[in-house]
Symmetry: C2
Subunit: 231 residues, 2 copies
């Protein structure tokens, strides 16, 4: 069965790819969107993960939304926060929010899916550990699915009924790590850090690193990627 | 008042820009998406139109969805149809359909709007003359608007309530031309043809040319752009 997966090369999308395969989606089409992130380590990781997961076709697409600004992930004038407590992260939508990012990436995945004839699209969004992003919520994804089936020719003609899968939606980071480990995922090829060192080592202090480290700790595993600082 | 407008440089988006201005949107932010169309004449026209309409800021964004294939507008292996009768154009969704095009362009416009603080987005879609595209229908746009307000930080925080305007939705091409003429639009700077000659002259025979020519004819005007062949 065919499926398109949005693959960032991080822990979540990598685990999602493994889950899709375990559910019988053996023809995976991966889409990695370069939206002007500050660093290239994510893209390198996506390439390694796609290879490890036996992806059939992997497309990289550049969409330079960084020129719009408005996010710490794409705008060098906004600092990535360090050392925040995990418990306080869901109090406000963080500065690492990228305007309409998931809407844009899902739109591109929709185009890819229609052209390859896939009606299942997987993405690694999750609302438990990190509820700050509006476009990681189930109500957003449900509204997107409704819109998508009105948008495409194959939907209107009844050839494809698009379905969006977010299998991590209600999992904690620890559950994600445990699920991935049980499916044999090699997390050493992934990349999560928002603010890595020049050699690619994760900072260990940004929101994303802290959540990842906590997930491995609670799951009872040691994160195999290198860190500049690890509590 | 601020508004974002998707500006292709064609007759419809140009008229839409003039309508937005006439409705009091005097701070226009234009977004032109280069999605791998076969020719650059559209982009040149967009630049001229933005200047003529006094656009405050004009962003060009490349999104190479042509690599996905699946459309005569982006895939050199699929021929653009010529000489079809206008009356038969709405019988099937045409090969010039580009997978998820309007979904992608509206997603990018949404990101632009959120960063500049605009809550009104204009686009020149129209379902009367040419009902073949699923993503030109009001039910699509309505579903997109619902999704958009769940997707963005400014929507969830109550700072912006996104509204999508498609003022041409129920107009015939002749009505569009008449409206634009009454607002003083200079159509000589626009470009519509799907398959222009090397010098940029419109073919006069593709679906888009035929609809445009018929619109001018029925409105009682002569189209000012050059044609290779004009009935």
């Amino acid at each position: 069965m065919k499926a398109v997966i949005l693959l960032s090369g991080g822990l979540d999308s990598t685990t999602t790819a493994a889950i899709a395969k375990s559910e019988g989606f053996d023809e995976l089409y991966a889409l990695t969107v370069n939206y002007g992130q500050r660093h290239q380590f994510e893209l390198d990781a996506a390439r390694r993960v796609a290879k490890a997961q036996g992806v059939l076709r992997h497309e990289f697409l550049d969409v330079d939304i960084s020129r719009f600004g408005g996010s710490a992930l794409t705008d060098a004038n906004i600092d990535v926060p360090h050392g925040r407590e995990v418990e306080t992260m869901d109090e406000v939508i963080p500065v690492t929010y990228v305007p309409a990012r998931n809407t844009i990436m899902l739109s591109l995945a929709l185009a890819f899916a229609e052209t390859v004839g896939a009606q299942d699209i997987f993405l690694g969004i999750n609302q438990v550990d990190y509820s700050g992003y509006p476009d990681c919520r189930p109500e957003f994804l449900s509204a997107f699915e409704t819109m998508a089936n009105l948008a495409i020719k194959a939907g209107v003609e009844g050839r494809l009924k698009m379905k969006f899968h977010a299998p991590l939606m209600y999992m904690s980071k620890a559950e994600i790590v445990r699920t991935g480990m049980s499916l044999g995922v090699d997390y050493s090829v992934t990349h999560t850090c928002y603010d890595p060192a020049p050699d690619g080592a994760s900072c260990g202090e940004c929101d994303a690193c802290q959540l990842r480290l906590q997930g491995f700790r609670e799951a009872g595993y040691t994160d195999p990627v290198p860190y500049v600082k690890r509590d």
